[in-house]
């Protein structure tokens, strides 16, 4: 019996459109589910066959961990044929539309059931669209993406990431706006008219405008092969059955601690930094060394230093905001949009090098608006303007431990 050639396999795929919806675990779980579900219904109403699924290994979800849902749509196949080519896989290899519900995921995603930090546009193919919900300009996002060898598109749907919780869904219209945006960037997959019709029938007439708004407000531009950055991610090689310890015993990290940045031993294979939409920025100059951030951090990301300050290891910080919450000093720890930063370098080292420059840099990154996300406040985001930054404290009068 002959086996299938690559051409045979490719032929099976003809006419299948795939959408990947990248979302933050728990916070956007219901939103992402709704989008892929809506896509299937709209496609179905157009006489196409479709089904949706979630990446099984993402469950059980954790707060903020990058996850993905998929919708598979075909206008030539029967449902059984479509499921035959699409339903047996846990993940997809290529996507026609990659939806990103939180723009900070353009810095890469490390789902907890997988290995390493992967580019968000990993599954892009020539002509596919990366649709990002963001208040940023496309240029600000593109510079974080993996460089591709082909041209594809980036589309930006203006808006902030819609975050909710495990037990509630935040009905802010993001779902139908995304639907409208998809109708714009991929009219061959779903049409605007059918999307509106479906939304009217399912969610009520007052939501139809939001579909149109999503359709109208999305901006699209091409991404050239010269844009983006070379991505260092290499898929790990998994060992053969006779090449790793029996009894499901995995080498663990030896306990180890020394003072200073990255002084605690941590698992290099399981970093959690891509869970983060905001990072804590510390004003070391006004820190009272109360230890609360270090004590309360659920992920043990704070490294004690010789001078009594606490460095942050951003490779492992999930951006939960607990440190900012417990810090008793106003403006000492502030959560700041992750897209403002290019690297995970030690903030304490920068501060030690030049405290003045560091502090100015920190204030610049913080900006004037302070936002506390809804999972922290429990009442939706709250914004506050800062009248003027806390002045830089002089080292004089501080008791530095050497």
């Amino acid at each position: 019996m002959s086996s299938l050639s690559q051409a045979d396999v490719d032929a099976l795929e003809v006419g299948v459109k795939r959408l990947e919806v990248n979302y933050r675990g728990i916070f956007q779980k219901s939103l992402a589910k709704r989008i892929t579900k809506d896509l299937v219904y709209v496609a179905h109403s157009e006489g196409k066959t479709a089904f949706s699924n979630g990446r099984y290994s993402d469950d059980p979800q954790r707060n903020g961990i990058p996850c993905a849902n998929f919708a598979h749509i075909s206008d030539v196949m029967s449902e059984e044929e479509l499921e035959g080519v699409a339903s047996a896989a846990m993940d997809i290899d290529k996507a026609n539309v990659i939806v990103v519900l939180d723009d900070t995921m353009v810095k890469g995603v490390e789902p907890w059931g997988h290995y390493g930090n992967r580019p968000i546009n990993q599954k892009a193919i020539p002509g596919s669209v990366l649709l990002v919900v963001s208040k940023r300009k496309p240029e600000e996002l593109v510079r974080f993406l993996e460089q591709k060898t082909f041209t594809y598109k980036i589309a930006v749907l203006p808006g902030i990431a819609s975050f909710a919780g495990l037990w509630y869904y935040r009905d802010d219209g993001t779902d139908v706006r995304v639907l409208g945006a998809i109708a714009k960037v991929a009219p061959d997959i779903i049409s605007l008219d059918k999307s509106k019709e479906y939304v009217k029938k399912t969610y009520g007439a007052n939501k139809v405008e939001a579909v149109q708004q999503g359709y109208d407000s999305v901006s699209v531009r091409e991404v050239q092969p010269t844009e983006g950055k070379v991505w260092p991610f290499a898929k790990p090689i998994l060992p053969a059955w006779n090449n790793f310890e029996e009894g499901i015993a995995v080498p663990a990290i030896k306990r180890g601690f020394k003072m200073g940045p990255k002084g605690q031993n941590r698992n290099p294979n399981f970093k959690t930094g891509t869970n983060r939409t905001q990072r804590p920025i510390v004003r070391f100059d006004i820190c009272t060394k109360c230890t609360l951030c270090w004590y309360e951090c659920p992920d043990e990301c704070f490294d004690p230093t010789q001078d009594g300050l606490y460095d942050i290891n951003y490779d492992y910080c999930t951006g939960c905001g607990r440190c900012a919450e417990v810090c008793p000093v106003k403006e000492c720890i502030v959560m700041v949009d992750e897209l403002n930063f290019d690297n995970n370098n030690s903030p304490w080292e920068s501060y030690k090098k030049d405290s003045q420059t560091y502090t100015n840099w920190a204030e610049e990154k913080k900006g004037k608006t302070r936002m506390m996300p809804s999972p922290v406040t429990g009442k939706g985001e709250s914004y506050q303007e800062v009248a003027k930054p806390v002045p830089i404290a002089t080292v004089k009068g501080r008791k530095e431990v050497s």
């Binding site: 029996e246 009894g247 015993a249 080498p251 663990a252 030896k254």
Partner: protein, 415 residues
């Protein structure tokens, strides 16, 4: 007891012991570190005896009384993972209550040895022997061995540790003994000396898999679809290697104790020229052997195979042993609802083992002795007769229930 053995100081005494007493003696001799307990008949017998050993200062171990069988087997599993030789035991419904822990013990590849005092599964509440309880772990990576006498229960418990803890195997082992018939009857048993047991059974060493602060490892993490198959494959290889280790262990046992275990996997009784062979496990063996003797005196070419190791299943060895005969009858003290031909577990395993055999005998099945019902010599001679006459057996007669009320055809086996 051979004179030679006594002279060498291999055995310390002969004593009248029940099956559970014999297992308790073996636990003492194996110098286990952790004994986890939860009362259930017949495991309570082992608990009593062990408690007395400790109270009398004859033995020292952590004796942990759990709040249920699930915890009991978790305690054994966790003890084993930190390098302690652990023992646990239960029966029937209690064994099932521990099922989650049982499955994890085998996938974690921890060589816990457990006693299953075979007992019918509730409901209705029953204490009598039925093999279904132990068999419920047959597909989970447990080694399962049946002992038929008190002496064998003692010997087998020691051998179980030797096999389970072998670095090539490291799988948990269930020692199954028939509830009532063996657990509650006393026989003269040779009890070895501690020194002799030490010569046979090396100390438990989990090597670099031992959970200890100086050896940081993580056991049994969450995995995704890209690891599970390799882990199952490791299990499978260990089960295959166990066959060779079992041969070796019995050879070593014989070298130290001068006991006679010709074939570790099963005992053959008058099978050399037998035309008709019955295969069974556990205490039915006594009646079966008597039936063979009676029929042999009448000139019938019959034989009996007492299967000892059920997992790993000695398919190759059985294929060889049964290739010489024409008719095989299986005595199943268990049942497998809805299975092929609605037969027993052993019947279906044995038939599968013979499927690729060139000289395939006819195989029929007898469901007998469920929930502790007696199996008499007459019952067994009846089974021999039905097996001998199974040349053109109809599908409906492939599996027969022995001594079940209301069925004239199968009621009683006596001819």
């Amino acid at each position: 007891m051979t004179l030679q053995a006594l002279e060498k100081g291999v055995y310390e005494r002969e004593e009248l012991l029940s099956g559970t007493d014999a297992v308790a003696e073996a636990i003492r001799l194996a110098d286990i570190d952790v004994f986890s307990a939860y009362p259930i008949r017949p495991y309570t017998g082992v608990m009593d005896k062990l408690a007395k050993f400790i109270a009398d200062g004859k033995f020292d171990a952590e004796y942990i009384i759990a709040d249920g069988e699930h915890s009991q087997f978790e305690i054994a599993k966790h003890s084993s993972s930190v390098g302690a030789r652990a023992f646990a035991g239960s029966s029937g419904t209690g064994w099932l209550y521990a099922m989650e822990a049982l499955a994890a013990t085998s996938t974690d590849r921890l060589p816990v040895v457990a006693l299953v005092g075979n007992r019918a599964l509730d409901d209705p509440g029953a204490f009598g022997v039925e093999h279904n309880d132990a068999m419920l772990v047959r597909d989970l990576g447990w080694l399962i061995v049946w002992a038929a006498t008190a002496q064998e229960a003692l010997d087998t418990t020691l051998i179980a540790y030797r096999v389970a803890e072998d670095p090539k195997v490291r799988m948990p082992c269930a020692v199954a003994i028939d509830g009532g018939y063996l657990t509650h009857s006393e026989h003269i048993v040779r009890v070895p000396t501690k020194e002799a047991v030490k010569r046979f059974l090396p100390p438990y060493d989990l090597g670099n898999r031992r959970l200890h602060p100086d050896n940081p490892i993580s056991i049994a993490p969450q995995i995704n679809e890209d690891w599970g198959m390799e882990i199952r494959r490791q299990n499978w290889e260990a089960a295959k290697r166990a066959i060779g280790v079992i041969y070796k262990a019995y050879q070593e046992f014989q070298d130290v104790f001068h006991s006679e275990y010709k074939n570790p996997f099963f005992d053959e009784f008058m099978t050399e020229d037998a035309e008709t062979i019955l295969v069974g496990m556990g205490t039915v063996t006594a009646a079966a052997k008597s039936a063979v003797r009676v029929l042999r005196r009448k000139g019938e070419k019959v034989g009996y195979i007492k299967l000892r190791w059920f997992r790993p299943f000695p398919a190759t060895e059985l294929k060889e042993a049964l290739s010489r005969c024409k008719f095989v009858g299986v005595i199943d003290r268990d049942f497998a609802h809805g299975s092929p031909d609605h037969g027993g577990v052993l019947f279906n395993d044995l038939r599968a083992a013979l499927y690729r055999s060139k000289n395939k005998p006819t195989v029929v099945d007898f469901i007998a002795g469920l929930a502790g019902r007696e199996i008499s010599i007459q019952d067994v001679t009846g089974m021999f007769k039905m097996t001998r006459e199974s040349e053109d057996v109809e599908d409906a007669d492939l599996v027969r229930w022995i001594r079940v009320r209301g069925s004239a055809k199968t009621e009683g086996g006596a001819d």
